[in-house]
């Protein structure tokens, strides 16, 4: 059973990381959701004992139980994972409205172009001018 859990966590985590490395932002978010689930599963499996219920026995002579704490922890982790996924999807909506693309390559290309435009507008930093000396003002196209 432990082996099954370990293998499942490994596969889910691996698939999640693979998706995280894609350029499509929706895949990135899906990948993150998978990583979140791998973490939840790790949390869950850290307290499981085979064939025992996760309920603390009230009477002294009851059978031993699985640890119930991890169930509560996993529930919390699921809620947090859900909230972050929702937030990331909202971010994607904002990005899509602004740029009409959810592809990282497109977005970074546009950003690089914008940066290049800014660079061109900024006049070259002149050491002389920094010292406050008069220099011939170059004609800057407006």
């Amino acid at each position: 059973m432990n082996l099954v859990f370990a293998a499942a966590i490994g596969v889910i985590f691996g698939a999640g990381v693979h998706l995280l490395l894609q350029a499509d932002l929706l895949r990135v978010v899906t990948g993150l959701a998978l990583v979140a689930n791998a973490a939840s599963l790790t949390l869950m499996s850290s307290g499981l004992t085979r064939g025992r219920e996760p309920i603390l026995p009230l009477t002294g002579d009851a059978e031993p139980a699985s640890d119930p704490v991890v169930q509560a922890l996993t529930l919390t982790a699921i809620v947090i994972g859900f909230a972050t996924t929702a937030l990331l999807l909202a971010l994607i909506v904002v990005l899509y409205r602004r740029r009409h693309s959810v592809d990282l390559d497109d977005l970074s290309r546009e950003e690089a172009e914008a940066a290049a435009r800014d660079e061109a507008e900024e006049p070259a930093l002149d050491a002389w001018r920094e010292l406050g000396l008069e220099v011939d003002e170059p004609e800057v196209a407006r």
Binding site: G47, T76, L91, L95, L107, E130
Partner: protein
């Protein structure tokens, strides 16, 4: 006990109320400032109490200690809690004085402070994760709350990278729980001392990656520069001055108190990564012209010092790490808050920050670096001392470079670079208060050094087995 739970209750109620209100209205912003200021006041009193009487504990709802939610504030947590809330008060003051453009900003900042206050106050590993995520989610929303596509893109990268770090941290917690069978920090620390080395190292690495990402250490730093450069100055100040404290606190708490053997084992690795971080941050910062980009890379460089101090280990190194973290958080908050303001007074305020980052007395930064030197000399780690000297010289170069570039250029060129123009009273007051704290700690460093020493002692005590 009201001092322990009080800040959390105030912030929680205020956050919920503010979430329903329109944050662009000044009255709402003032309410948020008041809430965070009350929390800060309580935490400052709590800090005094903790330093005088030792750790304060509270188990919520009167439950048995291992069932209920346990809050436990020791000197380390109290120092960081008061520091972070104080910086948030100043940043929020400036944000409201500048004019809040997004509806949700005050509520998000209050929730972020709630998360920070909670994680510095909790005595339970899993509650730590929950508060940590609360602060981080508020931060993700804060970066995305306004702005252009570039800002949203930076926010997205920030969120993705840090979430991966968070989930690794969660996996680390699962492993730690499996290995020790408890979530209560003191008991975990006791049990962790008996772990097999392979298990403990695996757990330690996952924690290191998580907090390294949060701090923006060198190999995990790539989300940081664009974010700090695109966020508005108060938000950048909150990130660099308050949110980054999670990383420093986490490394001290989980490395110093819970897994001290593994920390000692990895001392060389920590010093190497820290040194690379210092060199990378400083060299990148020298090559930049944009003030806030310089500050962002400078942040990457300066967290390297914290790691080096941790690598030196033992009370002196830990105390230096705390003292330096406090000074560094104040410096970065001060520089970000005053970076866009113009006028004679704000130039003086900015200069205080510049001197403090460069480590020139009489500023807090001087004593932060002096504590590191002291730790390096006592550990007889001459390589570290040399590194501190070179790193200090480099930071001297880049902070004065930005001062010269920002303040000494002819007026018409400065106007281009500063859309905000002359600063208002509230904006200057916020930066001025932080500058005052930096100066006071520079003239009277006793509280800073004592806090570092007491926090280091608290870490050693929290190890349990001594």
């Amino acid at each position: 006990m009201i001092l322990v739970a009080g800040p959390l209750l105030v912030l929680w109620v205020a956050g919920l109320a503010l979430a329903a209100l329109d944050g662009r209205r000044r009255s709402v912003g003032v309410l948020a400032i008041a809430a965070v200021a009350v929390a800060f006041g309580l935490q400052a009193v709590l800090l005094g109490r903790v330093l005088a009487d030792g750790p304060q504990e509270l188990v919520a709802g009167g439950w048995a200690a291992d069932v209920g939610i346990r809050l436990r504030v020791d000197a380390l947590g109290a120092v960081f809690a008061a520091l972070s809330s104080g910086i948030v008060v100043a940043a929020l003051l400036q944000a409201v004085a500048t004019g809040v453009r997004s509806r949700s900003l005050p509520a998000l900042v209050v929730f972020l402070t709630l998360g920070l206050s909670g994680l510095f106050a909790t005595g339970d590993v899993f509650s730590f994760y929950v508060f940590f995520e609360l602060a981080m989610i508020a931060a993700y929303a804060l970066t995305a709350a306004s702005g252009t596509a570039r800002e949203v893109g930076a926010a997205f990268l920030f969120a993705i990278v840090n979430l991966v770090g968070s989930f690794l941290f969660l996996i680390g917690i699962a492993l730690l729980y499996r290995a020790t069978g408890t979530l209560e920090m003191v008991a975990v620390a006791e049990a962790a001392g008996r772990l097999e080395a392979t298990t403990a190292i695996l757990i330690a690495i996952s924690f290191f990656v998580a907090f390294g990402t949060k701090l923006g250490l060198f190999p995990f730093h790539f989300w940081l520069p664009t974010l700090y450069a695109t966020a508005s100055p108060p938000v950048a100040a909150i990130f660099a001055g308050a949110l980054a404290n999670i990383g420093a606190y986490g490394l001290l708490r989980f490395g110093g108190a819970i897994l001290p053997n593994e920390l000692a084992l990895s001392a060389t690795a920590l010093i190497v990564i820290g040194s690379v971080s210092i060199a990378y941050g400083a060299i990148q910062a020298i090559g930049r012209r944009d003030t806030r980009e310089v500050l962002a890379y400078s942040s990457i460089g300066h967290v390297g010092y914290i790691l080096v101090a941790l690598g030196l280990g033992e009370p002196v190194g830990l105390a230096a790490a705390v003292a330096f973290s406090v000074a560094n958080a104040l410096n970065k908050a001060l520089l970000f808050l005053s970076s866009e303001l113009r006028g004679r007074l704000t130039a003086a305020i900015f200069l205080v920050g510049v001197l403090s980052v460069a480590g020139v007395p009489p500023t807090a930064g001087f004593f932060g670096k002096a504590a590191l030197f002291d730790a390096g000399v006592r550990a007889e780690s001459w390589w570290t001392v040399a590194l501190l000297f070179v790193g200090g010289a480099l930071s001297f170069v880049y902070v004065f470079q930005i001062y010269q570039h920002d303040r000494w250029r002819p007026r018409e060129q400065r106007e281009r670079a500063t859309p905000l123009g002359s600063a208002g009273v509230g904006q200057r007051l916020a930066a001025g208060l932080v500058a005052l704290v930096v100066l006071v700690l520079g003239l009277w460093p006793q509280p800073l050094l004592a806090a570092g020493r007491d926090a280091a002692e608290a870490i050693v005590v929290a190890r349990g087995d001594g």
